[in-house]
Subunit: 235 residues, 2 copies
């Protein structure tokens, strides 16, 4: 080629068996999995660099994008990981209030949209609502630790039964030209919130200590079907 | 200490002069700068891992957070980089339509909010609207390249005069308890859009080839004061 394209080189290595063995091994793990869980501390409002780098290296062209024919035909709901489930478990140093609907950091699901929608839903996985533990740096008592563990166990129990975030699939009718939402889809809405198909509301109570939050968030999520962090509410 | 805290260790290294020399050098560059420009390709809807890692290593505790007293008193508009300007220049492979108000990827300013708000505004910088070049992988003619260069030169010309994104400062009155927006601020709004203080609307025309987009976006931005990617419009 007369022009270097990282995308084309990635695809070439993928189809010709010239990827590094560690990348091949990680791709094999993804293909073998029924569910993929990403657990990490929130660093500067996103995934740590080391995890971002894992995505960049493992998500080869032809594998996680350009699937089957080198185009964007299969993405956002379709793709090589279709049928698998994904769950993010994030620990944030700040209190839940900072990540609330009107919190100073913005809601965790909107901050992590590039990960949940852009990196997990895009190659086809069904992505569950994010599991977040707040004030993680201030957890100190055994009771708090036990509450956090119980909250996580509850999420694991629902790994294959909880409803995923209802992101709009590219090929489900909402994006007739694969680029822009049809006019009759989420009419009048723009941005990230328009990407969630159902009317979702925030759990009201997101303030308090980490253990209480873990309990409240998961309790509310499981009891009411409400999903903390998302809203389509329009004033 | 009887418990390992990366935050405390970062702060300890910072105040005792035990940071690695490369980190010290990067911090010195930030302190010496009048403006900070981050230029990168959009990888999986965010900054490449290598740039994220730069932020994580250079943004020591006591420097970019916990400034002055180890608390969150000085952040989001206040901080060690207050008075400096920041500008993001991002190249995206996908067409502008995918990043439009109702595009399948979501608007670029919302995808990059964790960077612009979370990593640039939080230690005090004034962040200009993102400069984006779309369909970057398909740029092929000299005319397209020249149009892209002209668009970028225009943004550089406004580096110290263009209006920054009107993010809400923590200590400007909108967050009385430093965590949650006051009820009378952006009433009824939630999430990322509530963080922008003024009524901003998308530039309508974001479709087309990269050169046309670079031209349209910058032309519209400079001519109308409109900012591509943001909206507070409520249907």
């Amino acid at each position: 080629p007369d022009r270097l394209s990282f995308i084309m080189e990635s695809g070439h290595a993928y189809v010709t068996g010239n990827q590094r063995p560690d990348v091949v091994a990680e791709q094999a793990k993804l293909l073998a999995a029924d569910a993929v869980i990403l657990q990490f501390p929130l660093w500067w409002y996103g995934v740590p660099a080391i995890l971002k780098g894992w995505i960049e290296r493992v998500y080869a062209f032809g594998f996680a994008y350009g699937y089957q024919n080198g185009t964007n035909e299969f993405r956002f709901g379709d793709g090589i990981l279709k049928g698998k489930r994904a769950l993010v478990n994030v620990q944030a140093g700040g209190p839940g209030a900072d990540y609330g609907p009107r919190g100073i950091n913005a809601p965790i699901e909107q901050l992590l949209f590039p990960l949940t929608h852009g990196a997990l839903f895009s190659p086809g996985m069904d992505v569950l609502p994010t599991h977040a533990v707040y004030s993680a740096g201030h957890v100190s008592t055994a009771e708090e630790v036990e509450a956090i563990k119980a909250g996580w166990r509850a999420r694991l129990a629902g790994l294959f039964t909880d409803a995923p975030i209802p992101f709009r699939a590219q090929n489900g009718g909402d994006f007739p030209d694969r680029h822009t939402m049809a006019d009759d889809v989420a009419p009048g809405q723009t941005g990230i919130v328009a990407h969630v198909a159902e009317e979702l509301r925030f759990v009201d109570a997101v303030a308090g200590d980490a253990a209480a939050i873990a309990s409240v968030v998961n309790g509310a999520y499981r009891a009411n079907g409400a999903v903390e962090g998302w809203t389509n509410e329009r004033g």
